[in-house]
């Protein structure tokens, strides 16, 4: 599972794992029924205390993203659809907040940003029309 821990932005590690697993599920990179790595394996991979993984998986279970099967592991749940929308929104809103904060610093107004977003989107669409779209992979 492709998860990166960043220690510079002050977000607790378990929360980073929760967010990234939710993102992987929301974006379809983790599919319903798929098994998450065992606690020990992910702890070794990320070089974090195993209790952090326990906490992250516990939180994911509470929010219905994954479920534990007795005697085996932790699996991605089926209820992806509704959750995906909420999560997708949350992920993109975080990015927007960051963008707005930076815009504010650089003295752009909200309207400036809206206009620039539209321009960039138009430019991207034009590019996409010019050359056939590649299959997007992350």
């Amino acid at each position: 599972m492709d998860i990166t821990i960043n220690l510079t932005d002050g977000v607790p590690i378990y929360r980073q794992i929760v967010n990234q697993v939710k993102y992987l599920v929301a974006s379809g990179l983790l599919l319903p029924g798929e098994e998450l790595p065992p606690i020990r394996t992910l702890a070794l991979q990320l070089k974090v205390t195993p209790n952090t993984i326990v906490k992250a998986y516990g939180e994911l279970e509470i929010s219905g993203v994954v479920h534990k099967r007795q005697g085996s592991g932790t699996f991605v749940s089926e209820v992806r659809q509704q959750l995906a929308l909420r999560e997708r929104r949350r992920i993109i809103e975080q990015r927007i907040d960051g963008l707005l904060a930076e815009a504010h610093q650089l003295n752009f107004s909200g309207d400036d940003i809206l206009r620039m977003l539209r321009e960039r989107k138009a430019a991207m669409d034009a590019e996409a029309d010019a050359e056939p779209a590649e299959v997007k992979k992350k």
Binding site: L7, V11, I13, A43, L46, K47, V48, P50, N51
Partner: protein
């Protein structure tokens, strides 16, 4: 997660040649958790750990490991403890395989398969003498000797000090395995704060022989914020802000680490004609620098 207390240190003080090394230190470690110990050189981390191992006798205060006094009951305590120190005091004349056999003799719980696996994965030559090993290989040999008997408590004193990334990862792996495999306990000291932030469930900060901060890492972190503040006015000296612990920056733009009431902090920024541009939880490193007062700006201002 159980809350069995494995280590309980109460009001421990210690002086060497009239100099206070530990000053009323209380510390406890619960089973199944990783306890990180941070502090500048000379803060008292090694002295504290040596008390846990019974290498030093508590002059004032008490030390209990598994409910036992490690000075009075060294055999029963040390049989259940694994220890790796920065100095890696290993018998120089022994070969690697002799070191293994020697350590095994003290520990009936020695796991030979685990020891062999580690030797192989480290590519350590069993016939080499300890004195012929590189710094990293010595650490690896010391690590096997510390963990192959699957101790209930693993104590690592600055295990990563002076080692390259690959060996540091071996040490972190050993910590993860110790905790993940059957809920055993780790206490490790380190000056590498990112390592401590990744590996610790609990963190204890020491400074000048005192415990300045101790708690569940996520709780400790939540108590500290790092904010970017901008003022209309230009400040040559760090402006005085409520709840601020450390400041860096200059002129109109300052980065502040603060703790306590966020509201109070915002009020005092506003009162000076400033605004908080951005806030987030502080990292362990930011908290450490703010708490130990070794922040460059603060030192200059003092």
């Amino acid at each position: 997660m159980g809350q069995t207390t494995v280590v309980d240190v109460n009001n421990l003080s210690r002086s060497f040649h009239g100099k206070r090394a530990l000053d009323g230190v209380s510390f406890s470690a619960t089973a199944g958790h990783v306890h990180g110990l941070v502090g500048a050189n000379g803060a008292g981390k090694t002295t504290l750990l040596k008390h846990l191992l019974g290498l030093l006798r508590a002059a004032t205060g008490s030390v209990r490991v598994f409910g036992l006094d490690p000075v009075r009951d060294p055999v029963r305590v040390l049989g259940r403890v694994g220890y790796l120190s920065e100095e890696r005091e290993l018998p120089e004349w022994m070969r690697v395989d002799e070191l293994m056999a020697y350590t095994q003799a003290f520990h009936p719980t020695w796991d030979e398969t685990y020891a062999r696996q580690m030797l192989e994965s480290f590519a350590l030559d069993p016939s080499k003498k300890i004195r012929e090993l590189s710094k990293g290989m010595r650490a690896q040999a010391g690590l096997i000797a510390a963990v192959a008997h699957r101790p209930e408590l693993l104590i690592l004193d600055e295990p990563s000090s002076g080692l390259d990334v690959a060996v540091r990862r071996d040490i972190l792996d050993a910590i993860v395995r110790t905790v993940a495999d059957d809920g055993r306990t780790v206490i490790f000291s380190s000056h590498l704060l990112d390592e401590v932030e990744r590996m610790s469930d609990h963190v204890t900060m020491m400074d000048y022989g005192r415990v300045t901060l101790s708690g569940v890492l996520d709780d400790v972190r939540r108590g500290y914020q790092r904010s970017h503040v901008r003022f209309v006015e230009h400040f040559d000296q760090p402006p005085v802000l409520a709840t601020a612990l450390a400041m860096e920056g200059g002129g109109r733009s300052w980065i502040v680490v603060h703790s306590g009431s966020i509201e109070q902090f915002h009020h005092s920024v506003l009162a000076l004609g400033g605004e908080v541009v951005e806030s987030r939880d502080a990292t362990l490193e930011e908290i450490f620098l703010a708490r130990t007062g070794r922040n460059r700006q603060q030192v200059e201002a003092a």
